[in-house]
């Protein structure tokens, strides 16, 4: 697995509350290759954001990563989060309004990031900051502006500029377009995609929008109730889903092609279980139309590097 930039190995994130110990992430494993865009899709609460937080060591207490390891560029970084933040792995959040410090000019925030991570003079840093703004499509003369003077889409561009400034090898983008208008979404996604392809930066793109996954990502991982349901090449997974949940997601995505007009929208019955009421065995089996007896008894492992479903057991060589 030499071209794996990042490997998440069997991590679990737990937190305690009055009712007991809950697992926000349960034995999750995935990997990101150099220069690829990996999508992470799932419903709200499935654990997508938690995965990103775990990688950077930003889980809010009382939660913590209780087991597993994160490997980056061949080294385990469980205890080295601070060294890699920004310089190697960056993260951008959903709400651009809240991501920027309202009291400081964006130029100050850019300079701060650049000067922290790079050994350059101040004038050199200013040059880089201006270039950074240009690359995301913002007039470099706006270095002296405050965040609230920008529109939502432009703010997210500033955020992207900030995230790229320390020249990381991996960016975790946590629902970067959810808070933006549809017309702006495409621009931002395009921008992100192009900038990263140019630099060879990998992206973990967290979203709940299947359309975004289809158009932007190389590979995709599907999360359900804190566990990995399926992972693989995007086109493969979307056209030929192996996990019943993935199939359900794909089927229930609204479409605008000629075949879809006036067709009823497919829904997966039921809802994702709450963390304190997880079913035995496979988390999805109560809603699954293909469930067999084994599904309610044992939690499936990932078969063929592809999907965690007992239905695949016979088709696959178990790892």
């Amino acid at each position: 697995m030499d071209d794996n930039l990042l490997e998440v190995r069997n991590i679990s994130v737990t937190f305690k509350n009055r009712y007991g110990t809950l697992k926000a992430l349960d034995n999750l494993s995935l990997n990101v290759k150099k220069g690829e865009i990996l999508g992470l899709v799932g419903e709200s609460g499935a654990g997508k954001s938690m995965t990103g937080a775990a990688i950077l060591g930003l889980i809010d207490p009382p939660g913590h990563m209780s087991s597993g390891e994160i490997w980056y560029k061949g080294k385990c970084i469980n205890d080295a989060h601070e060294a890699i933040r920004g310089r190697e792995i960056s993260m951008i959040f959903q709400d651009p309004l809240m991501s920027l410090n309202p009291l400081r000019r964006i130029g100050d925030q850019l300079l701060e990031t650049i000067l922290t991570h790079m050994n350059v003079t101040k004038s050199e840093a200013i040059k880089r900051a201006r270039k950074g703004l240009e690359e995301v499509g913002i007039d470099p003369n706006r270095l002296n502006s405050y965040p609230h003077t920008f529109s939502g889409g432009m703010r997210q561009r500033v955020v992207i500029a900030l995230a790229l400034a320390p020249e990381p090898s991996l960016i975790i983008a946590d629902e970067p377009t959810t808070a933006l208008d549809v017309s702006v979404q495409a621009q931002i996604l395009d921008l992100l995609k192009n900038l990263c392809k140019e630099r060879g930066t990998s992206i973990i793109l967290v979203t709940h929008d299947m359309g975004v996954i289809a158009q932007t990502t190389d590979r995709v991982g599907v999360l359900y109730a804190g566990r990995l349901a399926e992972i693989g090449d995007t086109r493969e997974v979307l056209t030929n889903p192996k996990h019943p949940y993935t199939k359900g997601l794909v089927d229930s995505t609204p479409r605008i092609d000629a075949n879809s007009f006036y067709k009823e929208l497919y829904q997966i019955s039921g809802t994702m279980p709450k963390l304190d009421a997880m079913p035995n065995g496979c988390a999805f089996h109560p809603r699954c139309e293909f469930a067999i007896d084994k599904c309610s008894k044992e939690t499936p492992q990932v078969f063929s590097d592809r999907a965690a479903c007992w239905l695949l057991e016979n088709e696959a060589i178990v790892e």
Binding site: L56, L58, D60, E82, I84, R85, G86, R87, S90, M91, I92, F93, D95, L97, M98, S99, L100, N101, P102, L103, R104, E112, T113, T116, H117, Y146, H148, T149, F150, S151, G152, V159, L162, A163, A165, P166
Partner: protein, 325 residues
């Protein structure tokens, strides 16, 4: 932005007039000025003359504006006790109160912010929790109780500090200061702590909760995710955003310091305007009461105005009435 400033100013002036009105109403209608100034033995004619002289038969609005006009010239008539001009009484005692108030406020603000930041950054730490628990005592203790207990400990038992009065003061023109003598400074210690303790705990807890709130904000998480050091995150991002509401609320607290000064001055027999006021209440000395209220009212309105303007200056978002989104 000018529009906002003018509107605020207008509001303040309106409130000032209302305060003046209340002060005037008290001055004129509570108790009987004639009885108080003349005593029971005055003849009817003498009374009538006094009534005319005081303008007590004039129409209401005339008396009101007369009152304001005189107030602007610091003329509040004479005290019922001792017939000294009220303005002189207040002027002679004002420096004492101001020095006390400023010392306490400074002590409370500086220490409060520092401890607040510490407890926020070291959340869950042993010392932090200890500080928090004891701070609750600071909020629950009535000011006078703190004063009395401090006197008992430091003046009676340990005999380190004086228990009343200002010590020796140096006269600088109209102002008398206690800062320039050792006994003056010693006398300031206990009263300042007493007066400032409540503010201290308030500011400390406010700073802490604001900072904790700020540290949960996305821009702080983003700063962390970008790899900025804890020091940078805490001091460049969290702190300025915390201080904005803290300083404004602290400014408003200045007002309550003036109010609680009344109590502190009583405990320590500190010769300030607070003690003057409470004696006036006790002896129903109306002119002094009314003058003090007007003074304090004006002070509060001004403080509120300054704090609002300060907010405008610090938070850039408030400056433009049109900011996108």
């Amino acid at each position: 932005m000018l529009v906002i400033i003018f509107r605020r100013l207008g509001q303040s002036i309106l409130v000032l007039f209302i305060v003046a009105l209340i002060s005037f109403l008290i001055f004129r209608y509570v108790g009987n000025p004639v009885d108080n100034l003349m005593g029971q033995e005055a003849t009817l004619a003498q009374r009538a003359a006094l009534i005319e002289a005081l303008g007590l038969n004039d129409p209401f609005y005339k008396q009101y504006f007369n009152f304001i006009w005189k107030a602007l010239q610091f003329d509040f008539g004479n005290s019922y006790r001792g017939a000294l001009p009220v303005s002189e009484l207040i002027a002679s005692r004002l420096p004492a109160t101001i020095e006390l108030a400023v010392t306490s406020a400074f002590f409370a603000l500086v220490l409060g912010v520092i401890i607040g930041i510490y407890t926020a950054i070291n959340r869950g730490g042993y010392i932090a929790n200890l500080i928090l628990s004891t701070s609750l005592i600071g909020v629950s203790l009535p000011t006078f109780l703190i004063g009395v207990l401090l006197i008992w400990l430091f003046a009676v038992e340990l005999k380190w500090l004086p228990s009343f009065g200002r010590g020796d003061v140096v006269q600088l023109g109209w102002w008398s200061t206690g800062f320039l003598t050792i006994s003056g400074i010693k006398s300031l210690v206990l009263p300042s702590i007493t007066l400032g303790l409540y503010q201290l705990t308030l500011i400390m807890r406010l700073t802490r909760s604001e900072m904790l709130e700020v540290m949960r904000q996305d821009y702080v998480r983003f700063a962390k995710a970008l790899g900025l050091s804890s020091k940078q995150v805490n001091f460049n991002h969290a702190l300025p955003n915390t201080l904005v509401p803290v300083i404004t609320i602290a400014g408003l607290q200045l007002g309550s310091i003036v109010a609680f000064a009344i109590i502190t001055e009583t405990v320590f027999q500190w010769p300030g305007v607070g003690l003057l006021f409470i004696n006036a209440v006790y002896f129903v000395d109306i002119p002094v009461m009314s003058a003090y209220l007007l003074l304090v009212g004006v002070l509060f309105v001004i403080i509120n105005l300054i704090v609002d303007l300060l907010y405008l200056a610090i938070d850039p978002r408030l400056r433009d009435s049109n900011s996108s989104e």
